[in-house]
């Protein structure tokens, strides 16, 4: 497991999982996009876990992964899934319910 953790425990903590299959261009793009987005909007209160399904194929079942790359928002509830390389920042923010957060 390639764990990259920037974990700061705050009242609101974000747990994100990024499923990839090897170091494909799409996966790398997705990871970079995610990282950038998190730094901008969730600085200091997120944790990203990258799961490479080529190494741990059995993990795909649990989170119902079928597309690669897939970002899963484990916390806060409810569970959200975003598939694709996360290049459309707008859509990712909607998908993660981050918009209202920014306005706070």
């Amino acid at each position: 497991m390639n764990d990259i953790t920037d974990d700061i425990t705050e009242p609101e903590s974000w747990e994100l999982r990024l499923y990839v299959a090897g170091q494909t261009p799409k996966s790398i793009t997705a990871f970079n996009n995610l990282k950038k987005l998190c730094e901008e909007h969730l600085a200091g209160k997120y944790r990203i876990e990258v799961i490479d399904l080529l190494k741990n194929p059995q993990l795909a079942k649990g989170d119902q992964i079928f597309a690669i790359p897939t970002l899963v928002r484990q916390l806060p509830q409810p569970l959200k899934k975003i598939i694709g390389d996360l290049s459309n920042t707008e859509r990712v923010l909607v998908g993660l319910d981050l918009r209202p957060l920014k306005e706070k």
Partner: protein
């Protein structure tokens, strides 16, 4: 027989993967293409999932080929429950690593798409499942659900194409199910990707009766049946029974079997029906068709043969009770397992279903005699041509197995008695007609043989009696006033006896009279004879008298000559003289 052939063929050509589903391997000439994906499509509720599941379960149990079931619709728990009624224990199979169930749940509301992606996750999951149990078979049910969950069709199409190619490379035999679209085989054109073998399932409703049908639309590189075949889903899974008219190639038996009614056997050339022939008994209501059928069943069981009785009108218990009243006890045969009564209302299935069901029961029970009582009710659920085609196929099916079949047919009163509604008489080898004969205010039953192929049969009518000891046939009264039966026959027979007696007396009387006359004449003859004898005597006396007179005359003349001293030789003298004179 066809099976062996197909195995040889499939060995030479395309490698096949046996499904183990009854009949399907026959139609596909050995099974699905090995190591390739096949498409099973059809509308909702036509049995796609079940077919796919049975393919996996049979593979795991019968052919030792583990399988992966990837479901996009139902959860493993639901699947296990659904097929438990068919006796498939999925939990046990999964525990034994014979099967792996994976539920891919795609919830559109939970998913947001941004940018490029692929379905590698699905590949990885599938690959993992396949490798973990060494699967040889894979089912994707229904992969089209992806279209509902994902917005980017371009990616989806490319990925599905890649998936099928990948499945081929993996060497697994896959069944992919697809929902039927309008005008196309599948809603999203899956048939474009899966082009080796396409099977279409159908569930049609005609006259409120549904019939499931299966058709192999395409099978690249292999022979296959092209027709629509009806199939059944029952407690043993799917059975497709390819019953088509094979033609008239079946073997013919010379063996004769009893009809159960001794005098009927006599009418049928002394020996009864031919083994493997088809017999039709027509008649109006209450003429004893079922009783004749039951007699035949009873006779078959007595010979130790199995008999399968399809009852479309009565419940088994009712048949048993009714037949007991005429001295035919069928119950022991049922207990012995020689007789099976299968009672069902005709309207419960379509015709094809009936045919499939019957063929299935016949295959399982292996009877030598089959009774269908009556076929008339089948017409309620099909058109004339359909019924005829169904019966033709049924008869061919039975003949190929050398099973003797007896059909009863209720003809409508008022119509021509010889008329069978479906024109099926030409399919029958022996045709008996039971009819009412109505004379003198009572109805009696009469039996004729309208035809019986290949035997010298009686052309006479017999009166048909249902007695406490079964069926009896007796001669009808054939007199100057026509055919008489029942009490009319009895009455006429009594009358006949009386007039017979009277005639005898009359003759006796006449004989005595003649005797008397003869005696009188004899008396007269005696008198005449006496008279005759008297006359004769008289004549004799006269002759004697004359002779005496003559003698006396000669004596007297001699005497006189002597007295006159004439020549001794008186008489001759003058003649001598005369002769001399001539000289």
């Amino acid at each position: 027989m066809t099976k062996e052939k197909s195995n040889v063929k499939s060995m030479e050509g395309l490698p096949k993967c046996q499904t183990g589903i009854r009949g399907l391997d026959e139609i596909t000439d050995g099974g699905l293409p090995k190591g390739r994906p096949s498409l099973v499509c059809g509308s909702a509720g036509c049995g796609k999932t079940l077919l796919a599941m049975e393919f996996l379960v049979r593979g795991a149990i019968q052919y030792n080929e583990p399988g992966v079931f990837m479901s996009f619709e139902e959860s493993p728990k639901e699947l296990a429950q659904n097929v438990a009624s068919l006796g498939f224990d999925l939990n046990d199979l999964t525990a034994r690593k014979k099967m792996s169930l994976d539920h891919v749940r795609i919830e559109r509301s939970e998913i947001e798409e941004t940018g490029e992606y692929d379905l590698e996750g699905l590949f990885i999951r599938l690959n993992h499942s396949i490798d973990s149990i060494g699967a040889k078979r894979v089912v994707l049910d229904t992969i089209e659900s992806l279209y509902g969950g994902l917005a980017n069709e371009g990616i989806l199409r490319a990925e599905l194409r890649r998936l099928f190619r990948w499945l081929k490379e993996k060497g697994v035999t896959a069944v992919v199910t697809g929902e039927r679209g309008e005008g196309t085989l599948t809603r999203h054109g899956l048939e474009e990707y899966v082009s080796d073998c396409v099977i279409l399932l159908d569930n049609r409703v005609e006259g409120q009766i549904t019939t499931r049908r299966l058709r192999v639309v395409k099978y690249r590189g292999s022979l296959h049946g092209t027709n629509e075949y009806p199939f059944l889903i029952d407690e043993k899974g799917i059975s497709v029974l390819p019953i088509t008219s094979i033609g008239l190639q079946h073997d013919v038996s010379n063996e004769r079997i009893s009809s159960g009614i001794p005098r009927l056997d006599t009418m049928l050339g002394e020996k009864g029906y031919y083994r493997g022939s088809s017999i039709l008994i027509s008649g109006t209501a209450g003429t004893g068709k079922s009783s004749t059928a039951a007699s035949f069943a009873d006779a078959a069981c007595k010979r130790g043969e199995r008999c399968l009785y399809f009852a479309f009108e009565e419940a088994p218990n009712q048949i048993i009770r009714n037949m007991r009243s005429i001295g035919i006890d069928l119950e022991p045969w049922i207990k012995k397992g020689l007789l099976e009564i299968y009672a069902v209302r005709p309207t419960i299935y379509g015709l094809e279903m009936h045919l499939v069901k019957m063929a299935k029961l016949i295959d399982e029970f292996k009877p030598r005699v089959v009774i269908i009582d009556p076929i008339t009710n089948l017409i309620a659920i099909g058109s004339e041509t359909e019924v005829k085609s169904m019966l033709a196929r049924l008869i061919d099916f039975l003949k190929a197995k050398q099973i003797t079949a007896l059909f009863t047919n209720l003809s409508h009163a008022g119509g021509a008695l010889e008329q069978t509604e479906f024109g099926i008489s030409s399919l029958m080898d022996t045709w008996l007609l039971l009819r009412d004969i109505e004379i003198g205010g009572e109805r009696n039953r009469g039996l004729y043989i309208l035809k019986s192929r290949g035997m010298a049969h009686s052309n006479q009518i017999r009166e048909f009696l249902l007695t406490d000891n079964g069926i009896d046939l007796i001669d009808v009264y054939l007199g100057p006033s026509g055919v008489l039966t029942g009490s009319a026959r009895a009455a006429v027979e009594v009358q006949d006896k009386i007039s017979d007696l009277m005639r005898k007396e009359e003759i006796e009387l006449k004989k005595r009279e003649l005797e008397r006359q003869r005696k009188a004449i004899e008396g007269q003859i005696a008198v005449l004879r006496a008279e005759f004898e008297g006359k004769e005597e008289e004549e004799n006396m006269l002759t004697q008298k004359e002779k005496l007179q003559e003698e006396t005359d000669i004596e007297a003349r001699k005497e006189m000559a002597h007295i006159r001293k004439a020549d001794v030789s008186t008489g001759n003298e003058p003649t001598k003289k005369g002769r001399r004179n001539i000289k």
